[in-house]
């Protein structure tokens, strides 16, 4: 599903060149649950942004399914993010003015689904994360765990192939964090590929494969024996 060949990403900050990703090779199969670990500045977030088609590499190749992502324009990238990829962020990134249902509908708006269909999809998605009775609540009327569940619902509403979770439990207490991880685990069990970025070992342990990064390089990539 994901094929990365000698991919590099460099940022130019003033006079300095910062090599965020240094010649990375990586492939992820459909149905994988991959945890990416590393300290801050290790390049894990940059890698995740590139996998998520939010950013493009400076050099090297990235194939997502049948697309050579390095060659795509911004509209094509937006379409990929819309149809095939769902994001779950550390701080939820819900739109404060919209209620839960409207937040979940957002990606469906951009994919041009009609009103009836997208409302149904949004309610189904909210129901699957256990928020059926919260559809008309705004983010500030929801707890952190509920907000993160709304953002998971938003990520899965368009039935994507890949979910990218960037420290999804980082802003939650450990009990709520475990609930969120259980939802991600269930999604993976239904066949959705999950790439998780975290720096917590017990969260990373949900993955079937753990990749450790440092200084823009992959330090270690192995099957998770604990899982």
């Amino acid at each position: 599903m994901i094929n990365i060949n000698s991919l590099s990403k460099e940022y130019i900050m003033g006079d300095n060149k910062l090599l965020a990703l240094d010649n990375i090779d990586l492939s992820i199969n459909e149905g994988d649950f991959v945890s990416i670990m590393g300290s801050s500045g290790s390049g894990k977030s940059t890698l995740m942004n590139i996998i998520g088609c939010l950013d493009v590499p400076s050099s090297g190749e990235y194939h997502f399914r049948d697309n050579n992502v390095s060659t795509l324009n911004s509209n094509k990238l937006a379409e990929l993010r819309n149809k095939d990829i769902g994001f779950v962020f550390q701080n939820f990134n819900l739109l404060p003015r919209l209620n839960a249902q409207e937040n979940v509908v957002l990606p469906l708006l951009y994919s041009g689904k009609n009103l009836k269909e997208r409302n149904q999809l949004a309610i189904d998605a909210l129901e699957s994360v256990g928020l059926k009775d919260r559809v008309h609540h705004r983010p500030n009327q929801l707890s952190g765990g509920q907000q993160q569940r709304v953002s998971i619902a938003r990520a899965i509403a368009g039935s994507p192939k890949l979910i990218l979770a960037d420290e999804p439990t980082g802003a939650l207490d450990s009990k709520t964090g475990l609930e969120i991880m259980k939802i991600l685990n269930d999604l993976n069990a239904k066949g959705i590929t999950i790439v998780l970025v975290t720096h917590e070992d017990d969260i990373a342990n949900y993955g079937s494969r753990i990749i450790k990064m440092k200084d823009g390089k992959i330090l270690e990539d192995k099957k998770n024996v604990n899982n």
Binding site: L54, D55, S74, N75, A78, K83, F89, N93, L109, Y110
Partner: protein
């Protein structure tokens, strides 16, 4: 993403900041209301001028007697009648541009009829008077040639005189006493309505000869008359004829080209031009205000939209991460600024209508509401919204998704 979805999202964000949205549209509000008021003043003036022409007849010059000042001492407007019927005949002969001339003598006197009495202006003239002044008959007829020649005691009255003497009854064939002389009413004129300074319908018209013999024999002895209305063949000839009349009159009255004339020529077109000119100046003033405030309003919208884009950078990033294309973001912000300017436009139209109503009620100015001006205001305000909203919207659409998402 459909337009209704875009509108839905835009109104959500506008309503979350309703005071700011309205303050932002203030410039548009002032601009649009000025546009509407301006157009309405302009077309009001045009209609008023058309009505005046309708009332008083077009292409007319009025020549009046005027006491020439004697060693710097004016003798008073009514003291001398310097115009005569001979002047009139001479003008007709000398100037082919003149189509017709109606002479006039007048006095203000008591009219008695039906046990009522009423003070009205009595005019002695010929049938030309009706054509030149655009008078229409509601009832009855104008003078017969024989009546004019013999000085018959017949009269034609205006609506105000009828109302005060006969109420709603027909005055035709009734007898009225003008200065104790009995006259038979043969015609009733259509109402013309009042001007700011006179009620045109408060009038009684009798044959010139009758008036001179029976009513104003002392005031206008011989062939003296008070004034004459000259109808010129076409409006192009009006100003030239005015000069020619002056020349001929000076020759007749033996007054040198730079001497004080004993007559005055009024050109009604002059007055109308002045009226039109003053409303044009007013319109230019308002157009300037409108133009400036629309531009300032547009800049205000641009400013607020730039602030909004900055404030919502992270939100834009979120939308992009879930699949918003550049076009979607561009359209959303464009629609938002369009909505601000359209709301401003609507409030401006309401305000403009209020101003129009207030001015026409309070100052008795003629204002005419032109529906085109409302359409024009909509076009103006929406194009302002799109033009000034474009730069901020493009800025939002060109954000890099990563940078936008990371923005705090």
């Amino acid at each position: 993403m459909s337009i209704t979805d875009l509108i839905y999202l835009s109104q959500k964000s506008l309503r979350s900041n309703i005071l700011r949205s309205i303050l932002t549209s203030l410039g548009i509000i002032i601009g649009v209301s000025s546009v509407i008021t301006m157009i309405s003043i302009g077309s009001g003036a045009r209609i008023e001028v058309e009505q005046q022409i309708e009332r008083f007849g077009s292409n007319n010059l009025i020549v009046r007697s005027q006491s020439s000042s004697n060693r710097g001492v004016s003798m008073g407007a009514n003291s001398v009648n310097t115009l005569t019927l001979k002047d009139m005949e001479a003008l007709k002969e000398e100037l082919p541009a003149i189509k017709a001339i109606a002479p006039r003598v007048s006095l203000s006197t008591q009219i008695v009829a039906n046990g009522n009495n009423w003070l009205a202006t009595v005019t002695g003239t010929t049938n030309d008077y009706f054509d030149l002044g655009n008078w229409k008959f509601e009832n009855g007829r104008s003078f017969e040639e024989e009546e004019l020649a013999s000085g018959s005691r017949v009269a034609i009255i205006g609506k105000t005189v009828q109302k005060n003497l006969f109420d709603t009854d027909s005055p035709i064939d009734e007898v009225i006493r003008i200065n104790k002389v009995p006259f038979t009413v043969i015609g009733l004129l259509d109402a013309k309505g009042g001007t700011a300074w006179a009620d045109l319908d408060d009038t009684v018209i009798v044959p010139l000869k009758t008036a001179k013999q029976r009513l104003v024999a002392k005031k206008f002895p011989g062939d003296q008359i008070r004034s004459m209305t000259i109808n010129v063949r076409s409006s192009d000839l009006l100003f030239k004829t005015e000069k020619d009349v002056d020349t001929v009159m000076r020759k007749l009255h033996k007054i040198s080209a730079n001497g004080n004339p004993d007559f005055v020529i009024r050109n009604y077109a002059q007055f109308l031009n002045a009226r039109q000119e003053s409303s044009r100046v007013m319109s230019i003033l308002l157009a300037t205000v409108a133009g400036i405030s629309l531009i300032v309003g547009g800049i205000g919208i641009m400013n607020i939209m730039l602030v909004t884009v900055t404030e919502r950078t992270k939100e834009i990033g979120v939308c992009m991460s879930v699949g918003a294309k550049k076009r979607d973001i561009l359209l959303q912000f464009l629609i938002e600024s369009l909505m601000i300017s359209l709301i401003g436009g609507l409030i401006g139209i309401a305000l403009g209508l209020g101003v129009i109503y207030g001015v026409s009620e309070y100052f008795k100015w003629k204002m005419s509401l032109d529906y085109m001006s409302i359409v024009l205001s909509f076009v103006f305000s929406s194009s302002i919204g799109i033009i000034f909203g474009f730069y901020p919207a493009r800025k939002a659409a060109n954000l890099n998704p990563i940078d936008a998402l990371r923005y705090e």
